[in-house]
Each structure stands twice: as structure tokens, then as C-alpha cells.
């Protein structure tokens, strides 16, 4: 029996570069998250209800007001990318709850004792959040078709929308992870989640342009990641929609935000156990 040799890592540990290692670990985490999602996809469908209400009820009514300057597009078309961004935010901001649940089950203990890099554990969750965001985008596209909103169907535009949504979803999920590491309990998390989602939504350009905001709110909107997500989507998703900053700047700013948040989350993740 060759068992003595078998019981001797890390002597036979396969060395790999950091990038390869993080890639392998991130995919491993994302893989199990997505398996769980597809095993029980009801969540994806219930998530579709709220945007339908916003677009069908709020959107239809406010379309008649005509007090909000939306450029060349109808109010309903103007708010569609905003509602997509909102549904991404509202879903992703509660991902941290799952991590607290996993902590209580001992899953986080096991992950942290494994050789996986902390950043991989964070990125794995972010990738799976990004994928969920893409699923939400598909649902919103379907709603938009039903409401006869003029969509830009060019493949590059759609690709840009999906990329923006995936990155935005990853940002808010990682932000949620940071909150979870700080508050550490489900009850407190629910409270804080409720408190921050509405301000993030209203202090953004999701359902009205920043130009008509009072000065102080404009400042808040400028540091709100949701603003950049909405701006990126508005230029790509609807016919006649205009992006204030341009897709490249919006996407670049979001990447920087995501890198900063991921670094913080990787640092805080082990404190979840303390």
C-alpha cells in the first residue's frame, strides 16, 4: 500500500500561478451556486414580478404626466433601463443573507480552512450574482417587448447591456457581502438591506434624470454606483436612449468600484466567524 506517500501534501502540491489558482477556485464556487439556482429557479421568476409592477403600473401612469424631461424617448422607454438596474440592485443587495446562513451552517468555516484564496470566495459569489443579473435582463427584455418599447437589437448593444448588468449585479452582491461581514446577523442584515435599497434607487437616475435633481441630491447620485449602471444601460438598451457619460466611462467606473469592493470583501470575509 502506498498510503504513506498519499498522506503527504503539500510536498506533492501542484504549484500554479495566482491567476490560474484564483480562476479555478472562483469557477468552483460559481459552479455550485449556479447548480443550486437551476435546481430551484422559482427565485428567478418571483424576481420578475416587481419590475412588471413598476413598468406596467408606475410607468403607464407617469407616462401621462409629461413633466419629466426624457429627451427623444417616451417616459416608459426612459425608465426601462432604470427598472432593469433596480431589479438587479434589489436582488443582489440581499445575497449577503445567504452568506450569513452559510456561516451558521459551518459552510464558511470549511471554505476558509480550505486553501482557496479569500478573493476567490468573493469572486465566485460575484460571478454567480452576475449570471443571475443576466437572467433578470432577459426577463426585462421580454417585458419590454410586451410593452412595445423600442429596443436596440444589435448584438453589440445587447452584449453591452448584459455585461453592464452582470458587473452591476456583481458590485451590489459584493457590497452586500461586506455588509454581511460587518453586521453578522440575519436580523440586522434585513434591517440594513431595507434601509439602503430605497435611497440607492431614488438617489439615482433610474426613474428621472439627474439634471432635474436638487444640487445636494446630484452629489449623492454621482457617488451612487447605480447611477453608472443605469447610464450605461440607457445608452445601449433603448432606441433613442442617451448615456450622459458614455458606456466606456460608465463601465470603467464600475470596474474600479468592483475591484475596490472585492478587495474590502476579501479582507473582511474571515471576520464573519468572529
Amino acid at each position: 500500500m502506498t498510503s504513506a506517500r498519499l498522506a503527504a501534501p503539500p510536498a506533492d502540491w501542484v504549484e500554479e500561478t495566482v491567476v490560474v489558482e484564483v480562476w479555478r477556485e472562483t469557477l468552483a464556487i460559481a459552479n455550485v451556486e449556479l447548480r443550486k439556482l437551476f435546481r430551484d429557479p422559482t427565485e428567478l421568476f418571483t424576481r420578475a414580478i416587481q419590475p412588471v409592477l413598476w413598468l406596467v403600473i408606475f410607468g403607464q401612469v407617469f407616462s401621462r404626466v409629461r413633466g419629466i424631461p426624457t429627451g427623444n424617448v417616451s417616459y416608459l422607454a426612459f425608465m426601462t433601463p432604470g427598472i432593469l438596474a433596480q431589479s438587479v440592485l434589489f436582488a443582489a443587495i440581499f445575497y449577503g443573507i445567504a452568506v450569513i446562513w452559510e456561516r451558521d451552517l459551518g459552510i464558511v468555516h470549511k471554505l476558509l480552512v480550505s486553501p482557496a484564496k479569500r478573493i476567490s470566495l468573493v469572486l465566485g459569489k460575484a460571478v454567480s450574482a452576475g449570471f443571475r443579473g443576466v437572467m433578470q435582463a432577459i426577463i426585462i427584455y421580454l417585458i419590454a417587448i410586451a410593452l412595445h418599447i423600442a429596443i436596440r437589437w444589435q448584438p453589440l448593444n445587447i452584449l453591452a447591456v448584459l455585461a453592464g448588468v452582470a458587473l452591476g449585479s456583481a458590485i451590489f452582491a459584493t457590497f452586500s457581502l461586506i455588509i454581511a461581514c460587518i453586521v453578522k446577523s440575519r436580523e440586522r442584515f434585513m434591517g440594513i438591506g431595507q434601509v439602503i435599497t430605497m435611497p440607492l434607487f431614488f438617489a439615482s437616475n433610474a426613474i428621472y434624470p439627474i439634471a432635474i435633481m436638487p444640487a445636494w441630491l446630484k452629489v449623492v447620485a454621482l457617488v451612487n454606483p447605480l447611477t453608472y449602471l443605469v447610464d450605461a444601460l440607457r445608452g445601449q438598451m433603448i432606441v433613442g436612449g442617451e448615456s450622459v457619460h458614455g458606456f466606456a466611462s460608465d463601465f470603467g467606473i464600475m470596474i474600479v468600484i468592483f475591484i475596490v469592493l472585492s478587495a474590502i470583501a476579501a479582507r473582511l470575509y474571515p471576520t464573519l466567524l468572529r
Binding site: 479555478r24 455550485v32 468555516h109 480550505s114 486553501p115
Partner: protein, 277 residues
């Protein structure tokens, strides 16, 4: 068959676990107080004590989940503070809670471990099949873990922990909440792991039978320190022919092992028990 003693380490110290004045202080509570402890390779070693004695805190430090306040420790020859990444590659860990993911199948849980422990792609399936067979779970590999019994979940976790052939395996209260049959199965599997792979196994327990039947050597912890150390038979013999481990413990801690325990411990135990349904 390779005997436990021939599985000598290649690195550094001659012990699987070696702590030196290991200390953890939370606020004004000293959970672990200048702990000095050595576990030889190939041993099944028990940290015994009531809730709050510092067992779990000790395991958390040794598995790199917590940094010590002061003192040092080496696991498989690696310093837990200076080389935590090397420690993590060399150990396996089974937490107190039944922590396999219920929404995944047994095989999926194992595949996640195989990937995180960098087991080469070509070897993964074979290792997983072997681990499932070793734990008697082959026919349940494709079932969701939430359909498993408590004993099966614990065996699956042992399968996860053995995949990468760790030198040292840490288990926190491995049979808490399990029925007697499941407990004996877990003990048998642990003995086999030691025998077949030369693993050093360190468990915490407050279960006298477990300490007595399973462990080669015991450290009785009390208030963050080791109050007594020795083989179960030696410890009992020093208190007379009729003595039990509970008598030994009562002598050193001034109380029964069953007493004490914080709300947090009880909550964890209860959540484990309720998962077992």
C-alpha cells in the same frame, strides 16, 4: 500495511501539532491560556472538556480561522501565523455543525472540495468515487444531501476532508447529535483513516465514551489550559480501579463535565440537532 509510526513528517518539528504558550484573549475573557501541547504523528488525540473550556477556540487557531493573541503553534511542521496557506493545504477540517451543502448532491459537495484543494482534474472522479466507497456512500452520491441522515452527512464530510489526504485532520465534536449506531460508524471510519493513510486526527469532545474508546491520548482542558494529559487508561488508573473519565475530569475541573456552556454553544448544538430532525 503502513503503521502509524512510520508516517514521519518531512518538515520541521517531529510533531503533527505543537503549540507553545498559545493564547487567545477576547476582551477580558482568556479563552485559551498559554497552551502547551504536542500531538505525535499518527495519533488520535482528544481535547476533552466542558463547553467554554477553550477546545473550539484552540481548533480555530490551529486551523487558521483565528489568529492567536500570543504564543505560537505548528501544524504539520508549518507555523499557523507565518505560513497559514501551507497549514491549510496540509489539514482537513470537519466543523461541529453538519456543514455539507444540503442543496447539492454528495458528489457535488465532494467535487467542490476536490477543486478547492487543487486535486488534478484527471484524478477528481476517481478520488471522489474512492472517498464515497470508503465512507459507504457510493449509492447515495447522486442524491441531494438534504435527504441524508445525520450520520450520512457526517460521513460525507469525512469523505470531503479525506479527499486531499491531509496529514492532520481536525474534527470539532464529530459525533454530537448522532445516534449510537452512527457514532460507532464514524469512529470506525476515523480509525480506518488513521490506519490506511497515517492521518493524525485531533478531535474535540465532551463525550466520555468517545474520549475513552476512540482516543489514544487525551488532554483535559479547563479554563483554557491543560489540566491533565495522558492515555485514557492511565488517567483512569491514577484514580483507582473503578474510576471513570468523568471522575478524572471532576477532580481537575472541580465540576462535572456536563456543566457549563454558553448560549452560543447551546444554540449551535441545537441547530445541529434540529437539522438531524
Amino acid at each position: 500495511m503502513v503503521s502509524a509510526n512510520t508516517n514521519t513528517p518531512m518538515e520541521g518539528s517531529g510533531f503533527a501539532v505543537e503549540t507553545e504558550a498559545l493564547t487567545k484573549i477576547y476582551g477580558d475573557l482568556t479563552a485559551v491560556d498559554h497552551l502547551d501541547c504536542r500531538v505525535p504523528y499518527g495519533q488520535i488525540f482528544g481535547l476533552l472538556g466542558p463547553n467554554g473550556a477553550g477546545k473550539s477556540t484552540t481548533i480555530k487557531m490551529l486551523t487558521t480561522l483565528l489568529d492567536p493573541t500570543s504564543g505560537t503553534a505548528k501544524v504539520a511542521g508549518f507555523d499557523i501565523v507565518a505560513a497559514p496557506a501551507h497549514v491549510r493545504r496540509s489539514i482537513g477540517y470537519v466543523p461541529q455543525m453538519l456543514s455539507a451543502d444540503g442543496a447539492l448532491t454528495g458528489e457535488e459537495n465532494l467535487m467542490l472540495s476536490a477543486k478547492l484543494y487543487a486535486i488534478p482534474r484527471v484524478e477528481r472522479q476517481a478520488r471522489i468515487a474512492e472517498a464515497l466507497a470508503f465512507m459507504g456512500l457510493t449509492e447515495f452520491g447522486r442524491r441531494l444531501v438534504k435527504t441524508y441522515s445525520g450520520g450520512m452527512i457526517r460521513r460525507l464530510e469525512l469523505a470531503q476532508a479525506m479527499l486531499h489526504r491531509p496529514m492532520v485532520l481536525f474534527l470539532d465534536e464529530p459525533t454530537i447529535g448522532l445516534d449510537p449506531v452512527a457514532r460507532h460508524t464514524v469512529w470506525d471510519r476515523l480509525r480506518e483513516l488513521r490506519k490506511n493513510f497515517g492521518m493524525t486526527i485531533l478531535i474535540t469532545t465532551h463525550d466520555m465514551d468517545e474520549a475513552d474508546e476512540l482516543c489514544d491520548e487525551l488532554a483535559l482542558m479547563h479554563r483554557g489550559q491543560i489540566a491533565a494529559l495522558g492515555k485514557p487508561a492511565e488517567l483512569k488508573a491514577s484514580f483507582g480501579a473503578e474510576a471513570t473519565l468523568d471522575d478524572v475530569f471532576a477532580h481537575f475541573s472541580g465540576g462535572s463535565i456536563q456543566e457549563g456552556g454558553s448560549y452560543r454553544d447551546i444554540r449551535q448544538t441545537r441547530s445541529t440537532a434540529s437539522r438531524l430532525g
